[in-house]
């Protein structure tokens, strides 16, 4: 079976760009490193567009041309599946990712490690593309891990900072915990079905006949998604991952990495929806994460940190949506979120760039509207999109999820209300604090300036997406449901609906109003209140106790390893083994002392030995 040329391009372009970059540019011309990468992004983007067009017209590609691990009786294949879901993801990744590449070309211009940055950055991009086009679980795991690796390299990009090193380790380790889930799911799947059936297209139709072990697979895949998509309680790595350069955060939050978990769940939904209690649990975890991190986002000062918690919150929304069975809506939200969150991050990058910092806190900003107006406009558009205000893109996707939540009622509905309110509140709080209000003069005084076209041009296109992508819901639905593997068809994305519009818009408006009052009218109230009740402030800082628990857990593992590796293994067990030589020496001394040298003594021994021999006769 031949591989379509477009699919070849998806891999060939990034791989050749990476090889060319590493072997030719890295030493000689690192400052040109972004060009092959951007070129590769263009190729991939074109390939993705053509694939999407093909899929849109109903031509699904599913080929397994290679064997990765072949044995005569057991083998893992390597192939590609391009159906609606992967086409959507592919478009998102290639488009947003490509634009962020361009942006990064400007943002990282003066970094001494420019070349290394783009190599890792493009590897990240490649991994994500590989992830979304995988046609079986094992191959997906390969790219899943490579995504983790590249995020490790990028979060720790400024490895000179201890915090960056720590954050990168934390991200990798937390993901690794999730990977246990993925790995176990793989093992169980291959245990239940023949290995070849890790291919989705063969696997999903078999599920009805599967054993109860399949529910374990569902739960383990969910664990993997929790870690990758930063759901409670494994979310804490994502805010810390802000240590990387801003384009990295943008890419990670918008297009790659965290979306991988949502993608995994969407991909496995035919499996996960069969597992008893799992969808409800997913919804609950998602809702809790959304609300929980929304609250924390509303209390943070660092711009990127606010956005990070906001991402966690929105991932929670997507998970919530998935749990409610709204797969298409959740994926749609993934796409719109990709655009507006990328826009927000790049705006935050612009702010940091303007202030010549790697990241900025709300204490250092304020009144930036006049200094960098273009960024301010972009930010505002993205913020409206995030809040879910009609007719911005965020409205369409979020509303579909919230609508389903309201329909479900009960705790889901309540969570929906809270989410709508909180998102609007924290993002507008950030917007007001950053762009409006008084400009606090810094020491030494800096001269904020607008970023160059290399940064603003891609930003513009992303903002355009954040504004208008929501208008193509119907087309999106047609695309994403093409080649859907689930037994039941996808739920259609609802169109414009006055009832839910009223509910969500009113909550969002309420949030915006609250944010305005909180920051502009009574700015002191926020800080005064938190200063007077230190416990609350501490609670916010500690993510309500999650951070100390993580620290305690880390310490526990370290202590355990010390106990085993040093106290037990080296000191006790090996010490005991080594003490055998001392025993032997003691024994040698006593044996040796038997040979007293006196003739009579040795003759006594003769008698003893002879006696024993003779006694033996009696038996």
């Amino acid at each position: 079976m031949g591989i379509p040329f477009a699919v070849v391009c998806l891999f060939a372009a990034p791989v050749s760009a990476l090889l060319f970059g590493y072997f030719f540019l890295l030493k000689r011309k690192p400052e040109w490193m972004h060009w092959p990468m951007i070129l590769s992004c263009a190729v991939v983007g074109a390939a993705a567009a053509s694939i999407a067009a093909q899929v849109y017209s109903g031509h699904i590609i599913d080929v397994s041309p290679f064997k990765w691990m072949p044995l005569s009786s057991w083998s893992i294949s390597f192939g590609f599946r391009l159906d609606g879901l992967s086409a959507v993801m592919l478009c998102l990744v290639s488009l947003v990712g490509g634009l962020i590449h361009v942006y990064a070309g400007g943002y990282m211009e003066n970094d001494p490690a420019f070349g290394r940055f783009f190599l890792a950055f493009h590897l990240f991009y490649l991994s994500m593309i590989g992830l979304v086009v995988a046609n079986n679980y094992v191959q997906m795991y390969l790219f899943w891990e490579m995504v983790g690796l590249s995020s490790y390299l990028l979060i720790g990009f400024w490895y000179q900072k201890a915090s960056a090193r720590r954050a990168s380790l934390q991200a990798f380790f937390t993901n690794r915990v999730g990977d246990i889930g993925f790995f176990l799911a793989l093992l169980i799947l291959m245990n239940v079905f023949p290995a070849a059936h890790t291919r989705f297209v063969e696997l999903f139709p078999l599920l009805g006949k599967g054993s109860p072990a399949i529910s374990w697979v569902g739960w383990f895949l969910f664990l993997a998604a929790i870690a990758k998509s930063a759901q409670f309680p494994l979310y804490f790595w994502l805010p810390d991952a802000m240590e990387g350069p801003t384009p990295v955060s943008a890419l990670m939050h918008a297009a790659t990495m965290v979306t991988a978990g949502i993608f995994l769940m969407a991909r496995s939904w035919p499996l996960m929806s069969l597992v008893p209690h799992l969808p409800n649990t997913i919804a609950a975890v998602g809702a809790f994460t959304a609300v929980f991190s929304g609250i924390i986002a509303a209390t943070r000062k660092d711009l990127k940190r606010i956005l990070a918690y906001s991402t966690v919150s929105h991932l929670g929304i997507m998970t919530f949506g998935l749990g409610l069975g709204e797969v298409s809506s959740a994926v749609f939200h993934l796409v719109t979120h990709g655009f507006f969150k990328a826009a927000l991050f790049l705006c935050a990058g612009n702010i940091a760039h303007a202030l010549h910092k790697s990241t900025a806190s709300v204490d250092e900003t304020g009144g930036l509207l006049k200094k960098i107006p273009v960024t301010a406009v972009f930010f505002t558009v993205a913020a409206f999109s995030l809040s879910g205000i009609w007719p911005f893109a965020g409205f369409y996707s979020k509303d579909a999820i919230l609508g389903a939540a309201f329909d479900r009622g009960g705790w889901a509905g309540a969570a929906g209300f809270a989410i709508a309110f909180l998102s609007a509140f924290y993002i507008f709080r950030m917007l007001f604090l950053a762009f409006l209000g008084p400009r606090k003069e810094q020491n030494p005084p800096e001269h904020p300036h607008e970023a160059g076209p290399m940064m603003n041009a891609p930003l513009f296109f992303i903002v355009l997406g954040a504004l208008g992508i929501g208008w193509f819901g119907t087309e999106f639905y047609k695309l994403v449901s093409s080649g859907w593997l689930g037994a039941s068809p996808m739920v259609k994305i609802p169109g414009f609906d006055w009832a839910s519009f009223t509910r969500s818009t009113s909550m969002a408006g309420l949030g915006i109003l609250a944010a305005y009052l909180w920051t502009m009218q009574w700015p002191s109230f926020d800080w005064v209140w938190r200063k007077n009740v230190p416990l609350v402030e501490k609670g916010f800082d500690a993510d309500f106790g999650v951070k100390p628990m993580v620290a305690a857990l880390t310490l526990l593992v370290e202590e355990l390893s010390y106990l085993l590796g040093v106290l037990w293994d080296k000191k006790t067990w090996d010490g005991w083994i080594e003490s055998m030589s001392a025993w032997a020496e003691d024994a040698a001394k006593s044996v040796s002392s038997l040979a007293s040298g006196r003739l009579n003594d040795s003759l006594w021994w003769i008698l003893l030995g002879g006696g024993v021999m003779l006694l033996r006769l009696l038996k």
Binding site: S592, S593, G597, R598, L603, L607
Partner: protein, 98 residues
């Protein structure tokens, strides 16, 4: 079986053994050794006579010669160690040990 001869022989053997093990004077130990050999010979001879077997008697003679040779060797070794007209005991022979 000549029980009397065997009893005498056993008593002699044990007393010889006691002499060898318990006494420290080398010469006395050598005597003990000879007593042990003699004890065995007595048993042999007694048995041979009760079997009416000349082979046994001849063997006893040969063994007697061998025992004599042994005594010669022992005596020569012991007498060589004599110093100031005192004969050595095992206390003096504790140089090699451990």
């Amino acid at each position: 079986m000549n029980y009397l001869a065997w009893q005498i022989s056993a008593a002699l053997f044990v007393s010889g053994l006691c002499a060898v093990i318990l006494r420290k004077q080398l010469l006395v130990m050598l005597f003990g050794l000879e007593i042990m050999i003699s004890a065995a010979l007595i048993a042999l001879v007694a048995q041979a006579s009760s079997f009416q077997d000349s082979n046994g008697l001849a063997a006893a003679l040969i063994i007697l010669c061998v025992a004599a040779a042994e005594a010669v060797v022992g005596l020569s070794l012991i007498l060589h160690l004599r110093k100031n007209k005192t004969l050595p005991d095992t206390d003096a022979l504790m140089n090699l040990k451990g």
